[in-house]
Amino acid sequence: MAIDVKVDKEIDARGSHCPGPLMELIRAVRSAEVGQVIAVLSSDTGSKKDIPAWVEKAGHELVGVVEEEGYARFVVRKAR
């Protein structure tokens, strides 16, 4: 399933283990403008729990998660 939203920055964190992909996302969110959309690709299974949990706590929006062959694509909008 594709997500119909314009992505401003995509980070390929595949092959990086926890907490790598989450930290990459946090770094990107820090430097993004409010409203921008960031996609992070992660092959680490821990990301499926960690990334949505962090996005919720930090008050951003998880636009969607797309399962691909061997990895997942997390799309996040900076909300504040």
């Binding site: 990086s16 283990h17 926890c18 907490p19 790598g20 989450l22 930290m23 946090i26 969110v29 820090r30 821990g46 729990k49 960690d50 949990a53 962090w54 706590k57 930090a58 008050g59 504040r80």
Partner: protein, 378 residues
């Protein structure tokens, strides 16, 4: 530490066939794991430093000067006073540096034990502390010695208890992750210990700024943590010489092959220890296990042979002790494929850590002096 060890090993293995030079800006060797004990008044700062020259074999040349630029295409290291050193092989054992300025208010508002000065200032602040709210946390990933903030907070409980001010103190541990420690199995072990000691764990706290005048820490997630004393691991970056030479990627970490430790795009350049971009612990232990891998590859090339199988591949091996307070510790041993399975904390591992602390100067910087190396002729 990695540079000292490697220089001694290479000088021994290539005696008479190669010149080995160490470039170090201070000429002093510091045992950084000791900062923790200095901060908590368990050790004197004097046992943490030694003259680098005295730790190097006599065949190794020591240049006490800052390396300011590496020209990898010309095979040249440029020095601060204008000189330069040509090389056939270069090993970047340039470590990491503390960049407190990356978090607004950190220098003014928070203590740390990531430098000798910082550890001594923190020791004084703790001696004066009479109760209140202490926050301990991590202000940037990656950082050196991942267990250190957990060790600190657990030992802080003991320190304050001994001084009779624990009951008047709240201790809060702020983790950037959704658990206390980067490694899940270690978190499962330490979180109940924290709870038993009354240490409050806050997860997903990525430090945004510190307000020294108000005594408040603000997180990227929008929370505010008031404090009377803040102890935060400062952000780290790769060495300035790496960044200025264009050898680092994001954060100034050198991209290397995870098994050979060769720098991407520069066949005769290696990096080890904190300097690399590898997703493993930045610790002396990592460098310790990487040194023989780099040494074997360089020696094999000088000797015109293939590296000995098994000796030239780094498996991601790391061994770290983790103090859990109450005179107990555990040990974390892992590699790229196998996460650690830390044993229950015991007095034995605490004693082992202390024995290692004491034996460091005799065993680690010059492995060629140890009986095993003498037997194997380096």
């Amino acid at each position: 530490m990695g540079g000292t060890l490697l220089a001694n090993l290479l000088a021994c293995r290539l005696r008479g066939r190669a010149e080995v030079t160490v470039v170090d800006s201070t000429g002093m060797h510091v045992y950084q794991p000791g900062y923790l004990y200095v901060a908590l008044d368990e050790a004197d700062a004097r046992w943490l430093t030694r003259d680098e020259r005295r730790l190097l074999r006599k065949e190794v040349e020591l240049v006490v000067e800052e390396a300011v630029h590496v020209d990898a295409s010309a095979g040249l290291v440029r020095l601060a006073r204008g000189g330069s050193l040509p090389y056939d092989y270069l090993v970047l054992a340039t470590g990491s540096r503390i960049v407190r300025e990356e978090v607004p208010g950190l220098s003014e508002g928070a203590h740390d034990f990531y430098s000798l000065d910082g550890a001594q200032r923190l020791r004084e602040a703790l001696r004066r502390f009479k109760g209140g709210k202490i926050v301990v946390g991590v202000a940037g990933l990656p950082y050196k010695c991942p267990p250190a903030p957990v060790e600190f907070v657990l030992m802080l409980h003991d320190y304050l208890s001994k001084r009779g001010v624990r009951e008047k103190t709240e201790i809060h541990f702020l983790s950037p992750l959704n658990r206390a420690f980067t490694i899940e199995s270690a978190s499962r072990l330490v979180q109940p210990i924290m709870e038993a000691k009354g240490i409050v764990l806050h997860t997903f706290v990525n430090v945004e700024s510190v307000d020294a005048s108000k005594g408040e820490l603000l997180s990227l997630e929008g929370e505010v943590f008031p404090f009377d004393l803040a102890v935060l691991v400062p952000p780290h970056r790769g060495a300035a010489v790496v960044e200025k030479s264009g050898l680092g990627e994001d954060g100034g970490w050198v991209p290397v092959d995870r098994h050979t430790l060769r720098v991407a795009g520069a066949e005769n350049v290696f990096a080890l220890g904190d300097a690399t971009n590898l997703p493993i612990s930045k610790s002396g232990s990592t460098a310790h296990f990487e040194v023989p891998v780099v040494a074997e590859q360089i020696v094999a090339e000088v000797e015109g042979r293939a590296p000995t199988p098994g000796r030239a591949i780094y498996s991601g091996k790391v061994t770290c002790f983790l103090e859990t307070g109450g005179g107990r510790a555990t040990i974390l041993q892992f590699d790229y494929e196998n996460p650690p399975r830390p044993p229950r904390p015991s007095f034995l591992w605490h004693a082992a850590k202390w024995a290692f602390n004491r034996a460091y100067w005799y065993l680690v910087p010059d492995p060629t002096k140890t009986p095993l190396h003498r037997l194997t002729h380096c």
